[in-house]
Amino acid sequence: MGAKITAVSYYLPEKIITNADFFAKFPDYKNEALEKLGIGERRRVSPGQTASDMAEAAARKLFSDYNIDPQSIDFLLLGILEPDYYTPPTSCVLHGKLGLPKKCGTMEFNHGCSAYVYGIATAQGLMSSLGVKRVLFISTSVLSNTFHPEDRSSHYVFGDAASATLIEYTDDDMIGPYSYGTDGSGYNKIIVEDGFARNPLNEDSFKEEKDQYGNITSRKNFRMDGIGVFLFSMRVVPEMISDLLSKAHLTIDEVDHFIFHQPNRFLNENIRKKIGIPEHKFRHDIEKTGNTVQSTIPIALKNMMDEKLIKSGDTAVLAGFGVGLSWISTVVRF
């Protein structure tokens, strides 16, 4: 008994913010060194457009691109950071909007940059525990809604997007093994601190803080310790990939593609060099979208499928890492 990724689509909101648009707004932030991040433009939702709206659009695109009947879906998995309501789960709301069958289960989680690979693992588990055959897995993020207007760094790096993936039951196992972990002591490296159960909004939540690089944020806004996350990624990702390849009895030479979460090109290039992955096997795919959190891997995957870079029989390593701090990787065969 096993699972296979059989279809991937993604949705990008219409509004494009090019680097020229960005620097027109923040002229002091212009710096040639930023080109190393590999980001040329990013998308933004329109006013009132939610993460679940993008999720719905991504799912409808998947149904249309691959001629999938929504009635054939057994389970809806949703990776989402910005739910519509405190309760009910947004996956239930989405179930209704998409017209999925009553026998279809739903579940969601908010693991950000690690969510895509965790979603694949969860889909596999549901096939074993519930006996489902067709899992619709949607990832979506409008992290930009949490940024302080003057947090230039976050506005530059992140983009809004959603993806939809169909994971189907197969006789041959086409996904696995996995390597994963968590370092909860680093929970505050990537955080929106106030406005939820631990710290309800209060006067201090709105106090603006300027960091040494001129970015302004507050406790109710998204905050990321960029250098801390860089060091975490440089330490954890090479160890994780080494562990994964060992479990899979594979060498780097035997893997066709390495498709990692795309925080930025600079970090991924440093990770690639540290692991020793040849350039032609390593996908950079951030130029047109920025860091779209849990959608970076499926966007890269879909683009590679469309570019006919992935052939039947190919092997790819997928790796997510970030918020939590959390990390997970797996081997996928096509």
Binding site: L34, G226, I227, L231, K274
Partner: protein
Amino acid sequence: MDSLGTFITKLESELDTLEKGSLTPTVKYREIPNWSSMFALIIIAFCETEYSVTITGEDLRSCETVTDLYGLVVSRSK
């Protein structure tokens, strides 16, 4: 471990937007024109990949000059 001169040449090459020869032992790197978090990341990545030495954001704040940074890397290199 490289000499201070080689360290500076290599670091200047990583900070490729700097004018050649502008990085000297006494330069206070946080006063480099357009100093940004990107420059900090480039320095940290350089120390990690070139010398297998981990430099944190706190370390960068505790040093002033390029020579201070070199001294820190030397003290941590194996």
